[in-house]
Amino acid sequence: MSMFSVFNIAGSALTAQSLRLNAVASNMANADSVAGPDGKPYRAKQVVFEATPMGAAGGQGVRVRQVVEDASPARMVYDPRNPAANDQGYVAMSNVNAVEEMVNMISASRSYQTNADVMNTAKTLLLRTLQLGQ
C-alpha cells in the first residue's frame, strides 16, 4: 500500500530537517565561542542530505549522509586583553555566519512544516479509505 510509505518518506524528511535544525542551533549557540572542546575555534557544522530509496518502486526518502565542518577561515577579532589572543592581539573566533544560519533555520522549519502537512494529508486519505462504503 503506497499510501503508508508516504508516512515513511515524510517521516524521514522530518528527521533530516530536525537534524539540520539541531546543527543550526549548535552553530548559533557557538557563534561567539572562542575555543571548542579540542582547544581550536568552533567551526560551523552543516548537514549533507542524500536521497534514499524507500517504500514501493520509485519512492525516495531523505537521510543525512554526513555532517561537514565549514572550511572557511576563523573570524579574527582584535582583543589584546583576551587570554586567548595571539602575539598580534587577535583572537580567533568561530566561523559561524549568523545570517546564513538564520536563512538555514527558516528553510529547515518551512520544510519541516510542509512534510508534517504531507503526513496529515496522507492520514486523512487513509481514514477516508477506511470509511469506504459507509
Binding site: S2, I9, A10, F49, A51, S111, T114, R128
Partner: protein, 173 residues
C-alpha cells in the same frame, strides 16, 4: 504486483466462464439455490474495477509527490512524476505500464506481459538551482493537494456506487 494483476485477470476470466456455464445451465432448465449470484458479483466487480485502478494510481502518485517534497533540499535530486492519464489508460486496458513484456525467441513461446508500476518521468525545470535540485515547492504542493482531492473524489465515487448497488439490491423488500 505482476502476480496479483495476473491473478485478477484469471479471476475475471473464471468468473466469465462461470457466467457462461450458469446461463447454459439455466437454459437447459436447471435450477440453482442462489440463481444469478456469480452474475451479480462479477457485475459488481466490473463496476468498481475502474475506480479501483484509479485509486491505486492516485495513491502511487501521492507517494511520488511526497518523495519530491521530502527531497526539496537534497542536492542533485531530480523531481519525478507519472503521466496519470496514460498510466490509467494502460492499467484499465490491462497493459503493463513498466514495459515488462516477455521476450519471445520462438513463435511458439507464450507471450507474457508483466505489469510494472507506472513509469516515472522527470519534471521539467522551471528555475534551476545551483545544487542541481529540480524540486519546485509550489508545483509539488499544488500537485499534492490536487492529487489528494482526486483521491477523495475516487473514494466518494466508490462509496456512492456501493450505495446505489445496495439500494438496487434492497428494493422490493
Amino acid at each position: 504486483m505482476a502476480g496479483k494483476r495476473r491473478m485478477d485477470g484469471l479471476h475475471k476470466h473464471r468468473r466469465r466462464a462461470e457466467c457462461v456455464a450458469w446461463h447454459k445451465f439455466r437454459s437447459e432448465g436447471g435450477s440453482s439455490v442462489y440463481p444469478g449470484v456469480s452474475d451479480v458479483v462479477s457485475k459488481l466487480d466490473n463496476a468498481l474495477a475502474f475506480q479501483q485502478q484509479a485509486l491505486g494510481l492516485r495513491a502511487y502518485r501521492q507517494q511520488v509527490l511526497a518523495s519530491n517534497i521530502a527531497n526539496a533540499d537534497t542536492p542533485h535530486y531530480k523531481a519525478r512524476d507519472i503521466d496519470f492519464s496514460a498510466a490509467l489508460k494502460n492499467a484499465v486496458a490491462g497493459r503493463g505500464n513498466g514495459d515488462l513484456t516477455l521476450a519471445a525467441s520462438s513463435p511458439r513461446h507464450l507471450g507474457g506481459v508483466g505489469t510494472g508500476a507506472a513509469p516515472l518521468l522527470y519534471r521539467k525545470e522551471t528555475q534551476s538551482s545551483v545544487d542541481g535540485n529540480t524540486v519546485d515547492m509550489d508545483i509539488e504542493r499544488s500537485q499534492f493537494a490536487e492529487n489528494a482531492i482526486h483521491y477523495e473524489a475516487g473514494v466518494a465515487f466508490i462509496t456512492h456506487h456501493l450505495r446505489m448497488m445496495s439500494a438496487a439490491m434492497s428494493t422490493g423488500q
